[in-house]
């Protein structure tokens, strides 16, 4: 008997629909897995194209200051709000200072000048390519994160793949079950009679799309009910920002600690399309600073909350493309090419900036205007999928990408 069937028949028989307590689910996982603790890959998508050059500042590059007379982040120590020095050439935006200790402890790595080989500067297409994992190919109809799940027939948790929010992102769509959870507290049908009827109604439906999603949903709901009843206090005094992103990471932390079989999680964070007034009167003020404060503080809170559990976890961030090397006419930046990715977690060889720096001289810029890509985003993700999630079939996860060059981000 496979686990799901067991959960359905005996679990439900003992406790009634939706009341299987969390210890039972835990016990079920323990029965057919050596350890309920799973390796978890958490993907953060910065939608709208974050300005990578102001997020991870190449302050050692004089052209950076030539191209951005009004919006460059000053060199470390040259101003109160200068970049936070990382290695003498690169520095973090001052609003990301909460990430510095994680970098210093060797658990945060940065890959600069990373991105997609596709030249599109359309948000929609670029996000789509990065989520499908097949740049330039529109016909792909599932996502790389869904494909990265290792096939384990009959032994899969209903919350193996989770997205935080009211939509299931492209990256998580596909053959493997994946659920969108907007908010753990609301993840249920609140009327008991209604819940039972809807469950059997969707289970019996001939509408394949809704039938499949309905089944996944109710499996996950049962597992979530145990968690919903518990109080959650983050460890290590971690204070998550009250923002949507902070709260999403907090809920991912809850799922990780509840040992319900989470393997991949996705959360996104929008608003990075800073065409106008990207930087205010000083670097720690303005649109980008506000967004980065939320971004950095949320990631730092997650890191301290999970403490030892970070050994099982890798968090990776990405954005569809970077922004123009040169500032535009409205104290902002337009759509560009390469960007920077963060990789954070216990298994990460951090404290280091990865990737070749392409330079910012006119002839070094992509199409004469944008930072060039020197690391394909699939090199970064591919390494995490193989070495962290243990999925060796990379050709299925990133079809058509034959020669990944791993950067040695993981051990």
């Amino acid at each position: 008997m496979n686990r799901r069937l067991f959960l359905k028949s005996s679990g439900v028989a003992m406790f009634g629909v939706g009341t299987a307590p969390v210890w039972l689910s835990r016990a079920l996982y323990a029965a057919d897995a050596p350890s309920p603790r799973k390796k978890v890959l958490i993907t953060v998508f910065q939608r709208g194209a974050v300005d990578g050059l102001n997020m991870v500042v190449p302050f050692g590059e004089s052209r950076y200051y030539d191209l951005r007379p009004n919006i460059a982040i000053p060199k470390p120590a040259s101003a109160a709000d200068g970049a936070v020095d990382l290695d003498g050439f690169f520095g973090l935006h001052p609003s990301l200072k909460s990430l510095k200790p994680i970098y210093a402890s060797g658990k945060l790595a940065i890959v600069h000048a990373a991105g997609s080989p596709d030249p599109t500067r359309s948000h929609f297409d670029a996000q789509d390519y990065m989520e499908s994992g097949t740049p330039g190919r529109k016909a792909t109809n599932d996502g790389w994160l869904n494909r990265s799940l290792v096939a384990e027939p009959g032994h899969n948790s209903p919350v193996r793949a989770v997205s935080l929010g009211t939509a299931l992102p492209r990256a998580l769509r596909g053959h493997n079950d994946a659920v969108a959870i907007n908010n753990l507290a609301d993840f249920q049908v609140k009327d008991t009679a209604g819940a039972q009827s809807f469950e059997s109604m969707y289970a019996g439906s001939v509408d394949k799309v809704l039938n499949g999603t309905g089944r996944e949903t109710f499996d996950a709901v049962k597992l979530m009910q145990g968690i919903q009843k518990q109080q959650y206090t983050p460890s290590g005094g971690a204070k998550y920002p009250t923002s949507r992103f902070g709260q999403s990471l907090k809920q991912i932390a809850r799922l990780v600690k509840a040992d319900v079989g989470l393997e991949v999680a996705f959360t996104d964070f929008g608003g990075w399309d800073t065409h106008v007034n990207e930087v205010g009167p000083k670097p720690t003020v303005g649109q980008l600073a506000n967004l980065l404060t939320d971004f950095g503080d949320s990631l730092a809170a997650f890191y301290s909350d999970l403490a030892d559990r970070m050994d099982d976890i890798v968090v990776v961030t990405m954005s569809e493309f970077g922004r123009t090397a040169k500032e535009n006419g409205t104290r902002g930046t337009d759509h560009g090419h390469a960007n920077a990715m963060f990789v954070m977690g216990g298994p990460v060889h951090g404290g280091k900036i990865y990737g070749e720096w392409p330079g910012m001289a006119q002839e070094q810029l992509y199409e004469g205007r944008d930072l060039a890509v020197t690391t394909d985003f699939r090199d970064v993700l591919g390494e995490l999928v193989t070495r962290h999630l243990g999925n060796r079939e990379l050709a299925r996860v990133f079809p058509g990408y034959d020669a990944p060059r791993y950067r040695g981000l993981l051990g």
């Binding site: 109809n141 109604m201 809704l210 006419g329």
Partner: protein, 603 residues
């Protein structure tokens, strides 16, 4: 209730068509092509057309269409000017004053925080209207207090005190009723107060006390409460209520569907700065009058609208300054590509429409100088020749000679509106909304041909689509999953619910994943099935369905016995029968289950 139960037992049960592969819905071209050639049975034709051209059938709608004849009804929907409007709608729109104002009036009557700061700094006079005045005074005083706390000199807390205290306006008994009384007693008391006293009372109340009255008061008082909290809230409130009322009550259903479609096509995010008060005028004057007209007119109206120029930053885009002789790099303003890119990618040609990065820059140059006069005071469109790039441009191979001024932008709009990529892109997008996620290319070709021959006449393109065999085919029938907005409105309509306050429905839409006017990205919301089918959304739909049918949503009165929905599958019916056996059967539960069923999620 009994009547409609028999109705769906009596009617033949149509299963959803094939072509729904697992989740990813892989296209099966051959099977799909056959289904799009297979004509729907007569009964289904009416159901299908009503599902696609309206926000869902109300009780009696299908019978009415049958009586009129499907062809005549479709034709009428294509000519909303011939349709008499529903008096129920007019009554509901009446109190929503800001929907009828000019942009400048909105800015003056519902001041932004910036304007209130100007009042606090003595740069602007206080408004005359007592409620508005009190609101502005309060917020301005808070601003001053904050400045004082930050070490600046200025007024402080005492400015927050209202002219009269609450206990000077009401008796102790009256205050007790308002704090802890029953809803009916509250309503009675509030109704008995003369207007002046009511205003004084609202002004004197602490904000939480005022806020908790909001669901117990008539529309006019509700607006005053919102006004006192934050004047700009009223604009948001009017806009969202207006949209919901029109979708629910309008007799010109296709027009409302199209306003939704085109607004979403030319999406503007309400919460970006001045767009907070520009969006109502944008939707009313740029979108609504043009939804069935020439595409070029619609495109031009959006291009000239302050709301769009503010949203996509064009109002600040100016000719790049020539390299300064002294090498001075100080704050020179220059080009911003944002609008130019989205104009080509999203509004007209489509991302594969055959333009280059160079075209985007050239288009951006053409639109320099298209700007807004004083955006914070609700300014209108202005062309500023001083910031316009006067040089020659080449857009999509067409040379636009130097010195064209404002006409440069107009020429760009002419070029793209008449480009074959636009004809195809717009036709396909309409077919994706009205026919299927992956509409047959022959249909799109015919629509695009009509587009080209009719100089982009949207009504003609729709007519080609609606009269096609593909539209009335098994391939299209129930092939679309409703968006949350479509699901919510269709549920309210199927119940013929009485909506006295639509705002709670707007809050429901946030949980359902589609906050109105709040899609941040210029893409607008997707109409593709895969975007809307997921666990969080499905649970939210089920909860909404049960809450609505059980009268748990504020401001909405429902009689579940009125529900009209003729078709559920035998599986769904069996589940409902089982639920009725297990529990004391109630019409509300039955209605809730139908509205949350898989069938009801499709149109």
């Amino acid at each position: 209730m009994r009547q409609f139960l028999t109705l769906f037992l009596a009617m033949s049960v149509a299963l959803p068509p094939a072509g729904f592969a697992k989740k990813t819905e892989k296209a099966k071209p051959d099977a799909d092509a056959r289904l799009f050639q297979q004509k729907l049975p007569k009964d289904d034709q009416i159901r299908h057309a009503v599902d696609r051209l309206t926000f869902g059938a109300r009780p009696g709608d299908l019978e009415a269409v049958q009586k009129m004849g499907l062809k005549r009804w479709v034709d009428l929907q294509l000519h909303p000017e011939r349709i008499a409007e529903n008096p129920e709608l007019a009554a509901r729109l009446k109190p929503l004053e800001s929907l009828r104002m000019t942009q400048a009036q909105i800015a003056a009557n519902y001041p932004t925080p910036q304007l209130i700061r100007a009042v606090a700094n003595g740069r602007q006079p206080l408004p005359e209207d007592p409620v508005l005045r009190a609101s502005v005074e309060r917020i301005a005083a808070k601003y001053k207090a904050k400045r004082a706390a930050d070490g600046d000199k200025g007024a402080a807390e005492e400015d927050l005190e209202p002219a009269k205290k609450l206990n000077e306006i009401l008796s102790a008994d009256q205050i007790r009723v308002l704090r802890t009384g029953k809803p009916d007693d509250k309503r009675q008391l509030l109704a008995s107060l003369p207007v002046d006293q009511l205003d004084d009372m609202l002004i004197a109340m602490p904000r939480p006390m005022r806020q908790q009255l909001i669901s117990n008061v008539p529309e006019e008082t509700r607006r005053k409460i919102l006004m006192l909290n934050a004047p700009l809230q009223v604009v948001n409130y009017d806009l969202t209520e207006g949209k919901l009322y029109r979708a629910i009550y309008s007799n010109s259903q296709l027009e409302e569907v199209l306003v939704d479609f085109w607004y979403n096509h030319f999406n503007v995010f309400l919460d970006k700065g001045a767009d907070r008060f520009m969006v109502p005028v944008y939707e009313r004057d740029a979108i609504r009058p043009n939804v069935l007209g020439k595409f070029r007119t619609l495109l031009g109206a959006t291009a000239h609208s302050p709301a769009m120029m503010f949203y996509l930053d064009n109002w600040q885009s100016v000719a790049a300054a020539p390299a300064n002789a002294r090498g001075n790099k100080r704050a020179v303003r220059g080009l911003n590509e944002n609008y130019a890119r989205e104009l080509l990618e999203l509004h007209s040609l489509g991302v594969d429409g055959g333009y280059t990065q160079k075209d985007i820059i050239e288009v951006a140059r053409c639109f320099t100088g298209w700007s807004i006069k004083n955006p914070q005071q609700g300014g209108d469109f202005v062309f500023n020749p001083r910031t316009h790039d006067k040089g020659e441009k080449v857009v999509l191979g067409v040379t636009i000679p130097a010195g064209g001024n404002e006409s440069d932008g107009e020429k760009v709009l002419d070029i793209i509106a008449h480009h074959p990529s636009t004809a195809r892109f717009i036709s396909r997008k309409l077919a994706m909304r009205f026919v299927a996620d992956n509409p047959p290319s022959q249909l799109v070709d015919r629509m695009a041909e009509t587009f080209r021959k009719s100089d982009g006449d949207i009504r003609a393109v729709l007519k080609t689509m609606l009269e096609s065999k593909e539209f009335q085919s098994a391939g299209a029938f129930r092939a679309k999953v409703k968006t949350p907005f479509e699901m919510l409105v269709s549920a309210v309509r199927a119940l013929d619910a009485q909506v006295d306050s639509a705002f709670p429905l707007a809050n429901q839409l946030i949980a359902l994943g589609q906050p109105l006017y709040r899609k941040v990205e210029p893409t607008g919301y997707s109409s593709l099935n895969a975007e809307w089918v997921n666990s969080a959304a499905l649970l939210a739909r089920m909860n909404f369905a049960l809450n609505l049918a059980q009268n748990h949503i504020n401001g909405i009165k429902v009689d579940p016995e009125k529900l009209s929905y003729p078709k559920v599958s035998p599986q769904t019916q069996a589940t409902i029968d089982q639920a009725m056996k297990d529990k004391a059967p109630t019409p509300a539960l039955t209605a809730g289950l139908i509205l949350g069923s898989p069938e009801f999620q499709r149109r």
